[in-house]
Symmetry: C2
Subunit: 339 residues, 2 copies
């Protein structure tokens, strides 16, 4: 990707890195399906990107090899020497101890437990590294360059296969006492199933409005009498059909929006955050956002929170990883200058 | 009250006020029923207390007169001159802008709107003053000298007539972007009514497990066939009867505990706080705490939060107000020393 295409990023970098600094940082998004890397200069301009499939991967070595090879290729692409790399930050879809640099647990394809990802990155690449939960990084990304630019307090709510949120309080990611703040997949609102959930399995809320949950709901509701549509559709397709007027798809959209509005309502009462950014493949569907706003209004709150769509879309966590890597590079530069 | 009775407070003061400082601070709890004051020395030892009824009061002047007269009497009680008073902090049952010192809105008896309470206290008493929401002060109290001593992250959950919570994150009160963090009276969990709530009226959750809500639930459930008990009981009496085995009272206790466990579960998912302290006249009933713990276990969480009873009981907010007043006195002393 050339600089032209990423022009937007340059203008949003409000940090104080001098333009005379030479060097690059890498942001990594380790997803369940794809591993993506972005190379950015120290002004925050993304100059090269890469994506490879990790479908079926569960070996940590294989993931680490992809990251290392990717970094080399990205540097070559911009003809930069290896020592131009100043830092790297990576996000994984799981609870992550940011201070120790350990991915405590991932669900879905990876299934990692207590992976010392920061140390592995530092050993392999010999640069300062950082790791975080991918949804937290998406919140950092939206805060830096997206729908929550310059906002001090907001929640990034991601609905993809599953469900999670990244919370920013007083302009900083709030990760919780045990790194699990915002892990709302098990939240209980009216309509979530009563049966206790097995740890590691989709939570009550996730089973209703996570991407997989919506798919299962559709299959349960589906009957050829009520819709001409196929029984096997994903959440985004269902919401598309709702927009086109299919009554069963509309009913499921309404149900999802109703539950999502209750989740936002509950989180708003606890956190008193005035802004919620909806992201993730399912969460950023405009029909869901629109219906959720209407449902929130019906709750008759004195000052309902604002609900907006992610501006960075599927790039949110990658751009957040770049921002995190820039922060590390900058804090080290300040340290070096101070000594 | 003599020093003997308050001996416990002295030992918990971990701040650095020197014992050679002479002076006193006052904490005030402006409740819907009673106005209470506590005079403490700069070591945090409470040396005198006072309580007067404000039932039926809605004039701000009358409340201010009670506070000023009370302060004079407390100082006289310990034979301290007027200039020995170093600071005062007051809590009211409503959303409070701590930085501007304004009580934005109170419900129940007071019905205040945008009352500049800090300025009024400073004008009347000529000492540095502070104001906060009463539940936030109760959390500060429990954090200083009660069930959450030295705990960095916890929630104080108060159930009295209504319902509220005070959140402490990283050892500091978290008040939210608009001073309304933890105002959970409108939270929606399975079992709360679906009908939209009128602003200013009891919220969905409050109507089910606030003290008044439980009373109303009892009256709705009550039938002379099912219980020999009276139709007119308050929440604490109902929980007492549950302990004694009345089946209808037991059913209502179970229902309340179930909903409370869902509230704690939801707040825990968002905040990742490992400790919840139950307080308030209804919330600190041991039967409710016990039943709630069992319900939480049934939710099958990986690491459920700990739920404990308030240690300070009805004094929590008053002791929190004293702590807040001490903080102000101390920060001013540090400022004076630095100049």
């Amino acid at each position: 990707m050339n600089q032209q295409q990423n022009g937007g990023i340059l203008t949003v970098n409000q940090k104080t890195l001098s333009t005379t600094d030479t060097g690059y940082v890498v942001g990594v998004d380790i997803g369940g399906t794809n591993l993506r890397l972005a190379l950015a200069d120290l002004n925050g301009m993304i100059v090269a990107k890469q994506s490879s499939s990790v479908a079926g991967f569960n070996s940590l070595d294989a993931v680490m090899r992809l990251v290392c090879d990717g970094v080399e290729q990205l540097l070559q692409e911009v003809s930069a020497p290896r020592h131009a790399l100043k830092s790297i930050a990576a996000g994984a879809p799981g609870i992550t101890d940011v201070s120790e640099g350990i991915v405590i647990a991932t669900s879905y394809l990876l299934g990692w437990r207590d992976v010392p990802l920061r140390a592995l990155l530092e050993d392999a690449l010999n640069v300062p590294s950082a790791v975080d939960n991918d949804v937290n990084l998406a919140a950092i990304g939206e805060n830096w360059a997206g729908a929550a630019r310059d906002v001090q307090d907001f929640v990034f709510l991601a609905i993809g296969t599953g469900l999670g949120s990244g919370i920013v309080l007083n302009g900083r990611p709030f990760r919780g006492n045990n790194w699990a703040a915002g892990e709302i997949g098990y939240m209980r609102v009216p309509g979530t199933p009563d049966t206790p959930r097995e740890p590691g399995k989709p939570g009550s809320l996730e089973s209703m409005i996570g991407g997989n949950g919506i798919k299962v709901q559709w299959q349960n509701l589906w009957s050829a009498q009520n819709t001409p549509l196929a029984r096997d559709l994903n959440a985004t397709q269902i919401f598309d059909h709702a927009l086109e007027g299919d009554p069963l798809a509309k009913a499921l959209l309404q149900q999802s929006a109703h539950m999502l509005s209750l989740v936002i309502h509950n989180m708003f009462l606890v956190l008193n955050c005035p802004l919620f950014v909806l992201g993730g493949g399912v969460g950023s569907h405009p029909a869901l956002c629109h219906a959720t706003r209407i449902m929130l209004e019906q709750l008759n709150m004195r000052r309902p929170p604002q609900v907006v769509l992610s501006m960075l879309g599927p790039d949110a966590q990658l751009i957040g990883a770049v921002r995190f890597a820039l922060d590390i590079a900058e804090s080290l530069r300040i340290k070096v200058e101070a000594t």
